[in-house]
Symmetry: C2
Subunit: 658 residues, 2 copies
């Protein structure tokens, strides 16, 4: 929600009022307006749709818009936290909705970046989204003295009628901190009571100049009010005061507020039918309301609700599918369910919902030799984050593969950690879980795409880099006079400890001593020596300067590369060959492999992840991995021609001695 | 769901028909019955509550029962899997309901055991539950030849009118494999069209003998039908055939079935308003229905829905709180929110929802010296289960601390594991997560209470016992001529490895060799030697026979005790002192501590759990633990008088050398 410098209760009070303020333009000053029969639902009483009809079986029809009518919703949203709130609000709206929807989002650059990606990857049928630039609208309200910069976001609602498309006649305006408990169409239907005529009147009143009306009022109010307390509420209130006939209160069930105890309870205790709950921070809430549990539960329901489940089509409302859906469905339809690798191919085609910059994140201005550590993880590696922060003082871009509920656990985990809370240069990108196989390379690509520095260190979450690595890498990039045009991959030699308790070496000399005493090994020395053999650990022991090494089959070093390096191949889902294929791609694009003499990173022991253990034992798994490798090599030949032949040849030779 | 020997589609078709069969008794053969005005909703058309009212603003009132009317639901449920289905069904009903509900559950012993605990710990306001014994009712239908034993459960619906309380006039009967998408009151309201008069007619017709009617029909049908195909459907169908006027079809939206494609789609595509979806197994479903995604998503919504969120009170419907709620609320109200240990005390008072025997489980008949391994875990230790099964071939009772969604992941994990699927003697009890602190001792108590053998081995999930331990323990119990009256705790010495990859010793000799070579240590030798010092590892090396040891401060051995041993003290939440307190309790109750010379168990390394790492760093945590310890000692003195003095004294002395 938007931080503001005044009690939330006030902010809350204005929320749905705006619906009516926009509504009021529709019929506002018009004395000819006749209250329609069905408008009983518009007064302060709860809708009378239960019992109480003893005298007649005849009641007004339940107010609902025509089937399949497109409903418009406008929301002002700025920053990381507000974007998370918006996600929860939208989930509650989508859960109950039966109509096509269009969201008009007035956002700053941060929220737009996050929400564009979120809606693009969410792919909900019958949902449209438009973005409006908050920065562009700001001058229209920034002349109003306002203590808090963020207070301007509240004032944005004043300019919505002008900012939204001129042919848009009706819109529901929502704060990000509300939760729906009913179909938003019921709210929209309150417009419908004024029938089609109102559409025209909206246009007329718009032309007559709401823009002038509120500015005049605001200017007049500023003469008597202390400047700092003036916000959107105050202006709305002043306009209403001047034009009391323009306002029609919403039935109270449409804005049940926790802070306003007496009023709220009198409303809903009779209704047993809440429509919208208006939040402030539910965690800090100390309101002595006996139904607070009910409200909290509704909020938590949608906070933790699996948003993938909302990718459902509407019944009987034909609407254009979200972009990409048709190709996707064609591709899915072409899959052979009897194919042993069906699950792999299905997983490859899965579009995961992505919430980039899930937590507030303030990257430093870009520096020429800076390096971002890029990695991905799931819930069972969260414990690594604190240690990683201690070892890597630079920027990080981390993709997390989580359910909606786990994303909330993750949020609490970060909040509870002083180490993690203190870091502003770590960006967390949530990729929501879907499908049985771990989309390891898709996750790496999400993290990689969000790195903002010229170089990236492509690491894995189980590794802790040398304490000095961040500084050393930047110094090396500078000394080697690299620029992002030069195709170089700096190799960071990898080691591992099998000991659970372990004292991390503070220098190369200490590391070598541990290696000699058998406390450390070169990475996967026992199980998969060819994975790192080309790094040439013997040479590294003695090396004083960076040295070049050649690609060989199955090589999968940890490397530092320019940010625009090739992406990981997303066909490799589950486990196996995902990094190997990336190094092949680097070599095919003629990246030089340079081993850094003072760099090292150490793998810590851990239990096998749930995701790996579920599939490792399956014999079909190895067969599918082989099929994926074959297809990868075919594509490689297609791209790089004869030059790619060496990868196939290398594959067919037995690996040499490590 | 109930396994049956015929296509599920048939079974599905009868589901909600029963509602009407019970309904039909209400007005059935009565020619005086006049269809009420509002009964339009009873025909096959979807409720006409959207648009289409051009000619009149007057439509019949939306059918809903009077506010706060108690609605009755009957469900037949047998076995473990059906109990899980029922849990999901009930969640969907509770999510939308606004009325008090009473569930009439006709169950076998397994389901009753599970569901009694589930509802008792769920503590949902305005929900009553009654149980009826399926075994008692069985003779009423077991005379009907039926190929499948389980088919009898379907036939149970025939005897419901006689089995339910005579003063119960109306009931909605549900299969366990349905999901609600709307308020069940709307379904109940279909009764209401027949108003209060019908209540009397139900009674009259009941007395007139439905019991005879269906038996006569069944007997007659048996003359011509092959015995094996006769089930509840067939009998209902035959009765209906004889009395066609008795049946009134439900609006199709009340039983949308996936298997019946054409019919279902014609129904809901116009309605855009589904009320109930009737499932068969959603995972195996291959129905080419373009809305299958919608249905699946609704099902998954409630499968993974946090049931704790349904513990919300109804608005404006005064109803007696669930048993225990009032004391609980008083206790919670007495807590001081400013108390530094507020979170601890709140966690102690939390009642966790418990789903015992979450997976099918067939314990062997009890044997006199048998031992159940008792432990608890959360999601991050699931990987231990396979190894544990290999090390312990005997019965286990394991409590799992999970969210509803994690419980489904756990289910899939077990299904995917050949090792786990093969075991019928491992009982898994799900305790649903609630609150920030890990309720370690409550979890242990749940697992302990469900152990069925005379002895229990109280272990921890990170330990793997010697391969021989299960047999050795039973032999030792027999040799020592223990019986469950004798207060003995057999100590299993504990060791640990810090190596991630580790070859488990197959004998005491091998273990001692590893100990001497530094590959193994005695458990927590470095960090907390006093925890196991009294076991006297030096003596154990040489011991050939069990030897007695004395309690000392901070002793926390892993022990085998009679099943009726003292429970763990649930005040210890989070981490620390939870086992220590239990051993103190054993000593205070004068349990002999006998170390077994050939027994051992080994702790494997693992990353710290999320639950531990969240609190370990907090300084307030230690203070609260100290406060809990003090309170524990006060209670001890109260219980055991002067004899308990030694525990306080021991605590005040510095620990001696290990």
């Amino acid at each position: 929600m938007l931080p503001r410098g005044r009690p939330r209760a006030l902010g809350a009070a204005a929320l749905l009022l705006l619906l009516l303020l926009i509504g009021f333009f529709l019929f506002g000053g018009d004395l000819e307006y006749v209250r329609p029969r069905g408008a009983a639902a518009l007064d302060g009483d709860p809708p009378a749709d239960r019992g109480g009809h003893n005298l007649s079986d005849c009641v007004p029809p339940r107010p609902l818009p025509p089937k399949c009518e497109l409903l418009h919703v406008a929301i002002v949203c700025a920053g990381h936290n507000s974007s998370r709130d918006l996600n929860t609000l939208v989930k509650s709206v989508l859960f109950y909705r039966k109509n096509p929807l269009h969201f008009h989002l007035v956002t700053d650059a941060v929220a737009r970046n996050i929400l564009e990606m979120l809606f693009h990857t969410w792919m909900v049928p019958a949902v449209g989204v438009s973005f409006y630039d908050l920065e562009e609208l700001k001058p229209q309200v920034s002349w109003i003295p306002n203590k808090h910069y963020s207070g301007l976001y509240g004032l944005m609602k004043l300019v919505l009628p002008g900012a939204l498309p001129p042919d848009l006649a009706r819109v529901i305006v929502l704060d990000t901190d509300v939760t729906f408990a009913s179909d938003i169409a019921e709210l929209w239907a309150l417009f419908a009571h004024f029938s089609g005529v109102i559409l025209l009147r909206l246009d007329r009143l718009r032309q007559a100049g709401w823009g002038q009306m509120w500015k005049l009022t605001a200017t007049r109010e500023l003469l008597t009010l202390p400047a700092t307390s003036l916000a959107d509420q105050d202006i709305f209130n002043a306009v209403i005061k001047e034009h009391p006939g323009l306002v029609q209160p919403l039935p109270c069930v449409w804005n049940v507020q926790l802070s306003d105890h007496t009023l709220a309870e009198r409303c809903y205790s009779e209704a047993s039918d809440l429509k919208v709950i208006h939040w402030n921070s539910p965690k800090k809430l100390r309101v002595k309301n006996k139904h607070v549990e009910y409200f909290r539960n509704l909020y938590l329901t949608f906070l933790e609700y699996d948003g993938n489940l909302l990718r459902r089509e509407l019944f009987g409302c034909p609407s254009p599918p979200p972009p990409g859906t048709e190709q996707l469905q064609r591709a899915l339809a072409q899959l052979d369910e009897e194919d042993a690798c069906f699950e792999f191919r299905q997983q490859q085609l899965t579009v995961h919902r992505v919430h980039i910059s899930f937590l507030p994140h303030e990257p430093l201005p870009p520096r020429p030799h800076d390096v971002t550590l890029v990695a991905q993880l799931s819930m069972d590696r969260l414990q690594m984050l604190e240690a990683l922060c201690r070892h890597w003082p630079g920027p990080m871009s981390l993709a997390l593969y989580l359910t909606d509920a786990e994303a909330q656990q993750f949020l609490r985990f970060v909040e509870a950690s002083a180490v993690l809370s203190a870091r502003q240069d770590v960006a967390y990108h949530v990729v929501y879980r879907e499908g049985p196989l771990y989309p390891v390379n898709e996750l790496r690509n999400v993290a990689l795409a969000q790195a903002l520095t010229p170089y990236v260190f492509l690491s894995d979450i189980d590794f802790l880099p040398a304490y000095s690595l961040y500084d050393y890498l930047r110094a090396s990039i500078e000394q080697l006079k690299l620029d992002s045009e030069r195709k170089v991959a700096l190799v960071v030699p990898a080691f591992e400890t099998l000991h659970y308790r372990f004292s991390f070496p503070s220098s190369k000399a200490e590391l070598l001593a541990l290696l000699d005493s058998g406390s450390l090994y070169t990475f996967r020395y026992h199980e998969w020596p060819q994975g790192h053999a080309p790094t040439d650990y013997a040479r590294w022991r003695e090396a004083q300067t960076p040295y070049r090494v050649q690609w060989a089959a199955d090589y999968e070093p940890y490397v530092v590369v320019p940010r625009d390096c090739p992406r990981y191949d997303p066909r490799f889902v589950g486990f196996g060959w995902n990094k190997v294929a990336h190094i092949v791609e680097l070599d095919a694009q003629e990246y030089e492999l340079l081993v850094l003499p003072e760099a090292f990173t150490i793998h810590l022991p851990h239990a096998p992840s749930l995701d790996i253990s579920r599939f490792r034992s399956s014999p079909a798994y190895r067969d599918c991995l082989q099929a994926l490798k074959d297809e990868f090599h075919q594509d490689l030949s297609r791209h790089y021609g004869a030059a790619a032949l060496k990868y196939l040849t290398a594959l067919q030779q037995p690996p040499g001695p490590a």
